[in-house]
């Protein structure tokens, strides 16, 4: 792991009118590292991701890209740096096949005409390197399962050769096996030396693939934990902001009942 983080946020703040959405947030992501970003609803996860992706420019603080301060004011800026974002609603066209969706908006042309052969070859190559299994690259997205759509959306973000991939709740609507497929893919992104920011509500997923967990609470940092050395309870108490919370009370009650 390199010493300079791919992306570093230093004291980032963001206001929406009277609402202070983010206050002095710090975050570091290194190449070949999966950082899970967790927090309760309204903790500022989505806002933070959108500032990185260029949807909302930051008010205060510095965004450092490979050690250099950069300005990210538009989604285009983020893409040019090498930041790819896969949003929760996947933004795929159901009626177009996998190849067409992967290359939507950046079609390869040959003498002004779509080069379907080259696009299909590259699609297969890409899906193969990511070990993605889908029935065929020539069937419409509509025929794919939720997990397959998610991996196609992630694969699509890889076409721009990004250095940082942001995944917004990639497993939120998926079944057990599909979740495993997506988590496998996240691990493969890490093996390829990419930095990954993973937003998730699911502690099991976070424990399964993340290297670090950054907790946000009420728009502020509430600790960064090494996944290996931290228990799930510690993370949850950081998210909820107290050791005495609904989750721990419930846990205590059920263990007490079990002992009776």
């Amino acid at each position: 792991m390199s010493a300079t983080p791919v992306l570093a946020l230093r004291g980032v703040s963001k206001r929406f009118g009277a609402v202070q959405a983010l206050t002095d947030v710090e975050l570091e992501v290194h190449a070949g590292e999966v950082v899970a970003l967790v927090g309760d609803n309204g903790a500022g996860k989505s806002t933070l991701v959108k500032t990185i992706a260029g949807v909302h420019p930051i008010d205060d603080g510095v965004i450092e890209w490979e050690g250099r301060p950069v300005t990210v004011n538009r989604p285009h800026d983020a893409q040019n740096l090498g930041i790819a974002t896969v949003y929760q609603d996947l933004a795929l066209c159901d009626n177009i096949d996998v190849v067409g969706n992967l290359f939507l908006g950046r079609e390869i042309k040959r003498r002004g005409v779509l080069d379907e052969v080259e696009m299909e070859r590259r699609s297969r190559e890409l899906l193969q390197t990511l070990s993605i299994r889908i029935p065929s690259v020539r069937i419409p997205i509509a025929s794919l399962s939720g997990g397959q759509r998610q991996v196609v959306a992630i694969a699509r973000s890889m076409l721009g050769e990004p250095k940082l991939v942001i995944l917004d709740e990639p497993t939120a609507a998926l079944g057990v096996e599909q979740t495993a497929q997506v988590l496998d893919l996240v691990e493969r992104l890490r093996e390829r030396g990419l930095a990954v920011i993973l937003i998730s509500h699911n502690m099991a997923d976070v424990k399964a693939v993340a290297d670090k967990v950054a907790v946000l609470r009420l728009g502020r940092n509430n600790g960064v934990f090494e996944v290996k050395t931290t228990s799930q309870e510690e993370i949850i108490s950081a998210i909820t902001g107290a050791t005495d919370n609904a989750v721990t009370r419930r846990a205590a009650r059920t263990t007490a009942e079990a002992q009776k």
Binding site: D89, L90, A91, L92, C93, D94, N95, I96, G100, N101, L104, G105, R106, E107, K109, G112, V113, L114, V117, E118, E120, R121, R124, L127, Q128, T129, S131, I132, R133, I134, P135, S136, V137, R138, I139, P140, A142, S143, S145
Partner: protein, 426 residues
């Protein structure tokens, strides 16, 4: 990865990474080589409700069989020739409306715009003595501009396309009546540019055969060369037998129609122009980045926007295309009746245009369809009209039957979508 054609390898499955487990997911669509593969693929498609053009072709054969049994003149060269020439006006307008339907929108103004087009041509060339070519160009340009105007109100202002083009339907009909003036009907020179559109025939028998030959050879070459590129790039390609079979089917149809034309007056100019438009528009929709954008917008507007597609521009251009083809259709109508009159573009024309697109297999829900659908759909509608006319059955019955066919088609479209949903394909 290389495909060894002699082995029954899974050609449509993604290659397995060298170090990954070789177990292939049983749910992968593994298509076998040869014709057994096509049979299983066809069965799968039927189960999934992916019927394609099949219902229309079956319907067309049924229509021909019924009318032929009622009157043996139906499949005669003269009647078939008349059907082919008459369908071009509606068919041209249908090509334009298919672009709009692909977006999942509707354009109700095409009938009125076609009337405006014939009126502009007639007033300019006949009343004011302008060169007829110039008049035709002006009419076509006017159609495109009118369409773009509708597109602007829809895409930029955000008004529903249904409402904007409904307003257009009324407005442009009024506009046409206004420029036609008080006497109402302007006769067009039958030997002029517009007049010749539906009356000119290439009387040399070679013309029809040449067109059929060019179509068949062009299809075979593009399929063959495209396939060879695919094979060289190491991605699944069709077996040669498949291409030969498709080419043979096309050849039978193309030369059959050519023989039919030559038994009457030869290849009609109108049909030649229609074929050129169909090939051109199909190429634009399926082989260019622009066409891909049209399909993308029909699938998901948000996904298109995020992919960097200029949504407003594509929408405006699609409505301009619909206006342009409405204008082209108007010229063919004027040619057929050799006049621009007050009833141009009214009556059942608009309904027939939309019905032809939908009957041909274009989805009203957007994102699914091809311009070839216009040919199939308009053949069905015009065949019914001419078949009933041969029987001396009056317009009211004709309307009811065409309405019934349209309803059946929409029902098939909706059921298809439901089946596709339950089969996970919609």
């Amino acid at each position: 990865m290389s495909i060894d054609k002699t082995q029954a390898e899974p050609v449509d499955a993604p290659a397995v990474a060298a170090d990954a487990a070789p177990a292939v997911d049983p749910r992968l669509l593994v298509r076998e080589q040869g014709f057994a593969g096509y049979v299983t693929e066809f069965k799968r498609k039927m189960r999934a409700g992916d019927l394609g053009a099949l219902p229309v072709v079956v319907g067309l054969i049924a229509i021909c069989a019924i009318f032929q049994s009622l009157n043996s003149a139906f499949l005669g060269a003269e009647n078939l020739n008349n059907i082919f020439v008459a369908m071009v006006a509606t068919g041209m307008m249908s090509v334009g409306i298919i672009f709009v339907l692909l977006l999942g929108e509707i354009d109700l103004s095409v009938g009125s715009v076609s009337g405006v087009s014939s009126a502009i041509t007639a007033v300019m060339s006949v009343t004011h003595g302008v060169n007829e070519w110039l008049a035709v160009l002006a009419a076509l340009a006017a159609g495109a501009v009118i369409g773009a105007l509708h597109g602007f109100f829809f895409a930029r202002i955000g008004a529903p396309a249904f409402a904007v083009t409904l307003a257009g339907l009324l407005f442009w009909n009024g506009f046409m009546l206004q420029i036609l003036g008080s006497n109402g009907t302007i006769n067009i020179d039958g030997d002029g540019v517009v007049g010749k559109l539906t009356t000119y025939y290439f009387s040399d028998v070679a013309a029809a055969y040449l067109l059929a030959f060019v179509a068949v050879a062009g299809y075979f070459l593009s399929a063959f060369l495209g396939n060879r590129r695919r094979a060289l790039a190491g991605i699944p390609s069709r077996p040669l037998s498949d291409i030969v079979l498709r080419t043979a089917l096309l050849a039978v149809a193309a030369f059959g129609v050519a023989v039919m034309f030559n038994q009457y007056k030869g290849l009609p100019l109108a049909v030649l122009l229609f074929v050129v438009v169909l090939v051109g528009s199909d190429f634009v929709l399926r082989r260019t980045a622009y066409g891909r954008k049209v399909f993308a917008l029909g699938g998901s507007v948000e996904a298109s926007r995020r992919a960097g597609i200029n949504v407003t521009l594509v929408r405006v251009s699609v409505f301009a295309i619909a206006g342009f083809f409405a204008s082209v259709g108007g010229l063919f109508w004027a040619s057929k009746i050799a006049a621009a009159n007050q009833s141009a573009g009214s009556g059942d024309l608009l309904m027939n245009v939309i019905a032809a697109a939908v009957i041909g297999g274009t989805s009203l829900f957007g994102g699914r369809g091809r311009t070839w659908n216009a040919l199939l759909g308009v053949l069905v509608i015009t065949s019914i009209q001419y078949g009933l006319a041969l029987q001396g059955i009056a317009t009211p019955i004709q309307y009811m039957i065409t309405g019934g066919v349209l309803l059946a088609t929409v029902v098939i479209d909706s059921i298809t979508r439901k089946t596709q949903k339950s089969a996970g394909r919609a």
